[in-house]
Subunit: 207 residues, 4 copies
DNA sequence: ACATGCGGGACTGCCCGTTCAT
DNA sequence: ATGAACGGGCAGTCCCGCATGT
């Protein structure tokens, strides 16, 4: 459940301009999530969000190309990439991912995790948002493929690598969905999912 | 790449009425695919499709709830279910799926496979259609979970079962995407993907 | 200053539906012209017009594809065509046009003429509307070419015919513009313009 | 097909500044025409043009107030004025125009004429551009009226003068359109049109 | 019962006025 | 002080659900 759309061209370079941009962006997102919680996603119009954030409807779309992006945009993938890179190079992909996730989640406060869970629940409950997950899965897979390729001694485009990335991503989606529904520790959910994946898919007498 | 939306209330039962419904439905779908090929998906409006199929725009939506459904609606999942049910109960899930797919594809003519591939390429190239794939993946997973649960001696809701279903589905998506891009035999692509999945995810020294 | 866009597909066949369509169409046009007169053309938004006519903005555009069309749509050309057809076949084009115009205008009440003049003034004063006149001139020319071709014993596409049609149309535009600015009798303005045209363009010693 | 918008405040006077302005202007125009040819006029956005010319969208609009002006801005009318002024004062308007056009076109290389023809074709094929022609026709008429008034011994506002200017302009538009469609020599097209105009509109037995 | 038409909301593109950065 | 960027606003299109009339 993560993305990294950077609508604004200029990524950094502070100044009053940048600051204001960030503020506007956050205001829109905050008001949007508040309204979604109050009235539901579909019942909330972009115009209402714009009004609540005190910007014009046009500006809303300048910051978020679609209504869906208000909910879907985040950049937790970047965190994972860092985590993966700091794992030893000879660790197996699945193991590396497990540890990287654990490390990454360690840096996110429980309060923020609850916020994320709220967003996740929202996403899974709204068809239009759920649909957009596919795209996220794909970019997550691509990211994983790029990061894991060296560990597998192969190119990211090779079937082996894509297959591993796809399976691990599938496991994470299952884990996040379980977590969104049942609560508890996200790290534990992901751990369970990854372990189960490897146990159940063992070719011969693994159980 | 499969779904099973049944827009019409009446499920079977022939008669002149049903026949006409089928004809209209097929006319819409055929004209739509033709127009998509000629002008692109986004550039084609539902109104144009309706005009080409000689129905009113409103009627278009009676047959297909959304523009996307014109491309996405099919019922190959039913075929797979049949295939899975005719596999011996003690066969491993992955193996059962492989054989069921092979059997199912054996019943589809090469010409029809090319048509399917065309649709698959269209889907993967259009963001809006690609997004809808998530939903298909989910129903595919649910179907697989239901079918495979007995083989795993577990309930479809258990993590083990969902995990296996998710991983196998992920493999099939990777396979179909590869096939859409590179061509060749779909059965071979799926075979490769499933075998690779199990080799690469073996917990310890499986290779 | 005339056009003939028929947005609705169904041209005739009365019934409550058709009647309501006509009423809505006229309501939109009336409210639009009122608002244009009160606040100016550019200062009036389509949304305001829609609100005044008690329809949704979308409906506004269903009846008039553009804001300009609210002002520009009419069907006086049809009247002229009738008039031309009832002139003797051996009358010179210019003469036939003069008489046809006179006859046509005879059927339009002075009150309606004043309304038309109001619209003409509006059109000439708003750049966006003025621009659209070109298109009207062209369709007027095409109509004239089609009607006058037989009198000239030639095809509508021949230069001779197109040239006559273009010159006569130019004369009418000059006349209408003069009338819009100065008032008086439209028929007289057109008469003057046509007579002047032929006097001034005589090849040699015509004056 | 000519205009004379002078977007820049500074009218002439060279210097590094002016040079850069010209370069930018030409870059924008060149990139725009290239993109229009590749993707079509409507499908090309101002943003794309700005990006291709490596300026900001805002800068684009500083140089060309509207997208249409990129195509429509030129200053061939000035050439015609010069040409008309160097004709003897007792020459008939139509004749003076013919000769002035011939002289003016003599100064334009065939290559440049082809470029102009390309632009003309673009203009006639795009409704939005075609619409703007009306405005050009009007300024062309005003220019002709001003230049020809002395020859007719009258004021530019008199009907006689306006009528002649309008008819001659109509002839030129017909000629340019024919040239745009069929190719060949523009001078010849204009010649034909003017001669035809005078032959066909002769009051009595001119043919 | 079936089709048609209307409402309405998401989204884009053009263009302008103002505000900030250099 | 010149020049870019940013927010705003409006026209217009498309998809689609729901009420309406045939």
């Amino acid at each position: 459940v993560s993305a990294s759309a950077d609508t604004s061209g200029s990524t950094g370079r502070s100044g009053l301009r940048e600051l204001k941009r960030r503020r506007t962006r956050e205001a829109i997102q905050a008001e949007a999530l508040r309204l979604f919680a109050e009235q539901g996603y579909e019942a909330t119009t972009c115009e209402q969000i714009a009004a609540a954030a005190e910007v014009s409807p046009a500006t809303f779309f300048r910051y978020f190309p679609t209504k869906e992006d208000v909910v879907l945009t985040d950049d937790y993938d970047a965190l994972l990439v860092e985590g993966l890179r700091s794992r030893p190079a000879d660790e197996r992909p699945l193991e590396a991912l497990r540890r990287a996730v654990a490390a990454g989640l360690g840096m996110v406060t429980p309060a923020e995790q609850e916020t994320i869970r709220g967003r996740a629940r929202l996403i899974f409950s709204v068809p239009a948002l759920r649909a957009r997950l596919y795209e996220h899965q794909r970019s997550h897979e691509a990211m994983l493929a790029a990061e894991l390729a060296p560990r597998l001694g192969a190119d990211p485009q090779e079937l082996r690598v894509r297959m591993v990335a796809a399976a691990l991503t599938a496991a994470m989606v299952v884990a996040v969905e379980g977590w969104a529904a049942d609560g508890g520790s996200l790290a534990a959910h992901i751990d369970d999912a990854l372990v189960t994946l490897e146990q159940e898919l063992a070719p011969v007498r693994s159980r």
